[in-house]
């Protein structure tokens, strides 16, 4: 019995070798972990006749639409015109040089699957867990009384001096929270520093002027300043016009502030938040009236202009560390320590990643971090 099976099997193999079967394989499968918007169609053709053109068309329940014309016998195609609500079928037609159909095959119908988690974003998820985990860990550590040091940031020590000088000269303090709204983190960081500055102007009884250029930050900033005046026990010296709306327009806002600076000659100018090209227009005018200028932004292109015109500059991350530095509240300082440890881990990843990439080039480690789905 076994010999018989062996013989049949042997004949099959021989026939396959001598007469290549006219076979076309057409496979369709869903791209996993996506929003159901992509299907991959693979085909492999081995025919004895000479093939001129292969046409692949897609059936979406109502009509056939031609998706690709190719002469590549063994290839695949990504169809991203699909969506997760319908079923799709594909058909492949093979034509010879005279253009008549010599073979045809259609695939099974398939519904693109929808995933709830996009695997491509795993690197970002791990990063989120590590970094926010560290930040929360050190916040709790600080709450449980762990002593936390923070290095001196000269720009932030100068705030006390700047407000003091304005008080002596009986001049106002000007605070410019940048030209973007609360949907930009730099503006929020600027407002956090404003609450400290307002606390000092309340204590010393110095005039404070906070012109803003966006609507929502107007409400946020005036709530913050009112809160600081309350905390300083001087609710009566807070007046509504301290925080005033000028215009949404970048240069309209700057022309108003330049006019204010030259006329009222504030003794201290704070520019903390998001700035674009107008940074130098403000800082140069501030310099011309001899005010102490403390600036801070995370916009790399504008930092050089502040460095060449202001007395003190907060660079990038220093702007976000300002509120922790000034308030010295333990849990906020803990967050800073969490940031430092995250930096340490990033530096370790950089060094280890580099060494591994050099030693095992085909590992292609950087793919993990660069092609995010």
């Amino acid at each position: 019995m076994r010999k018989l099976i062996g013989l049949v099997f042997f004949i099959l193999i021989i026939s396959y070798a001598i007469f290549p079967l006219n076979n076309i394989t057409l496979k369709v499968n869903d791209v996993p972990y996506d929003d159901g918007g992509k299907l991959v169609v693979k085909w492999k053709i081995s025919l004895d006749k000479e093939v001129e053109n292969i046409r692949i068309s897609q059936y979406n329940g109502e009509t056939w639409t031609v998706k690709k014309n190719t002469d590549n016998l063994n290839d695949s195609m990504k169809d991203n015109s699909v969506n997760y609500k319908q079923r799709y079928k594909y058909k492949i037609e093979v034509f010879d040089s005279e253009g008549n159909l010599i073979a045809e095959k259609s695939s099974r119908s398939i519904k693109p699957g929808v995933a709830f988690y996009n695997m491509g974003k795993t690197a970002v998820l791990i990063g989120l867990i590590i970094i926010s985990g560290l930040i929360m860990f050190f916040i709790n550590a600080a709450r449980r009384g762990q002593k936390l040091k923070i290095r001196r940031i000269p720009a932030l020590d100068s705030i006390e001096e700047a407000v003091g000088r304005a008080t002596e000269m009986g001049k106002a303090v000007l605070f410019v929270p940048g030209i973007l709204d609360v949907n930009n983190p730099q503006t929020i960081a600027g407002v956090m520093v404003l609450s400290e500055v307002a606390f000092k102007t309340a204590k010393y009884g110095t005039d404070l002027n906070v012109p803003v250029s966006k609507p929502v930050i107007l409400s946020t900033a005036s709530d913050t300043v009112k809160e600081s005046y309350l905390k300083a026990g001087r609710p009566d010296s807070f007046n509504d016009d301290m925080v005033n709306y000028v215009t949404n327009d970048q240069f309209g806002y700057v022309s108003h502030i330049d006019g204010y600076m030259v006329r009222e000659k504030p003794a201290a100018v704070f520019m903390l938040g998001a700035f674009y090209a107008e940074s130098l227009i403000l800082a140069e005018t501030g310099h011309s009236i001899g005010a102490i200028q403390v600036a801070g932004t995370a916009m790399p292109s504008q930092i050089p202009f502040f460095i060449t015109t202001c007395d003190y500059v907060l660079i990038g991350e220093e702007l976000y560390a300002a509120s922790a530095y000034l308030s010295r509240k333990p849990d906020v300082l803990g967050a800073l320590k969490g940031q430092d440890y995250s930096k340490l881990i990033i530096m370790i990843i950089l060094v280890v990643g580099t060494i591994l990439t050099i030693l095992f080039p085909d590992l292609d480690l950087s793919q993990w971090l660069t092609n995010i789905g």
Partner: protein
């Protein structure tokens, strides 16, 4: 108490979590939420513009009432009158908005020239900043000055006149290696700062933006 503290904090946490989940989920009904909420912020900002405009009007009316010199009154009148004219023609039903001729005139011949000219003041301020600030006061300032000087010369025909291709090659190297790496470090640091700020807001540690009790 409930309305002042718990509800706003609850809204911030829920919205932040929705935005984070929407990033990780490719599901077609959830992932567009991330951009949808950005549009919603613009709607809130659009309504809040009214509060802004009223603040502007109030400040200017106060200036008119309390201004000692007669001339100061005129300036605030200029602001208020141009404000009302533009709003009137801008919101005129039917022909209102961008294609209203008066509105277009004021945009093209008042606002655009003023914007372009304020922007062009930078040319003067760059010159005076270069003259005054570019002093080799400290080693830091010297480094900044020398690099700026090389990059400046590397991008100008005058530079090619002095040194042929060398200066622009050095500029190319400084921009693509040191400058790119420095900017990368600033971006990484700032990104950590943003993440810490967001975590503090979502945990309720940072509440100054919401004001007190």
């Amino acid at each position: 108490m409930f309305l002042r503290r718990q509800v706003p904090f609850f809204i911030t946490v829920v919205v932040a979590l929705i935005m984070i989940i929407a990033y990780f989920t490719p599901h077609p009904t959830i992932s567009p939420v991330r951009n949808k909420l950005q549009d919603w912020f613009m709607i809130i900002a659009a309504f809040t513009m009214i509060v802004g405009i009223l603040s502007l009007i109030k400040v200017n009316i106060k200036k008119i009432r309390t201004a000692s010199a007669g001339s100061d009154k005129i300036y605030s009148l200029v602001t208020l009158s141009s404000l009302f004219i533009m709003i009137f023609f801008g919101l005129l039903p039917g022909a209102g908005g961008i294609n209203n001729s008066v509105f277009k005139f004021m945009f093209n011949h008042v606002m655009v020239p003023l914007q372009a000219t304020m922007f062009s003041l930078l040319a003067f301020y760059i010159a005076s900043a270069s003259f005054r600030a570019f002093r080799a006061k400290s080693t830091m300032a010297t480094l900044l000055l020398i690099t700026a000087f090389i990059v400046m010369l590397g991008r100008v025909p005058f530079g090619r006149f002095i040194s042929g291709p060398h200066l622009s090659n050095i500029t190319e190297w400084i921009m693509n290696v040191v400058n790119m790496a420095g900017q990368r470090a600033i971006l990484i640091g700032a990104a950590l700062g943003v993440m810490a700020t967001s975590v503090k807001i979502v945990l309720g540690i940072e509440r100054s933006h919401l004001g007190g009790e």
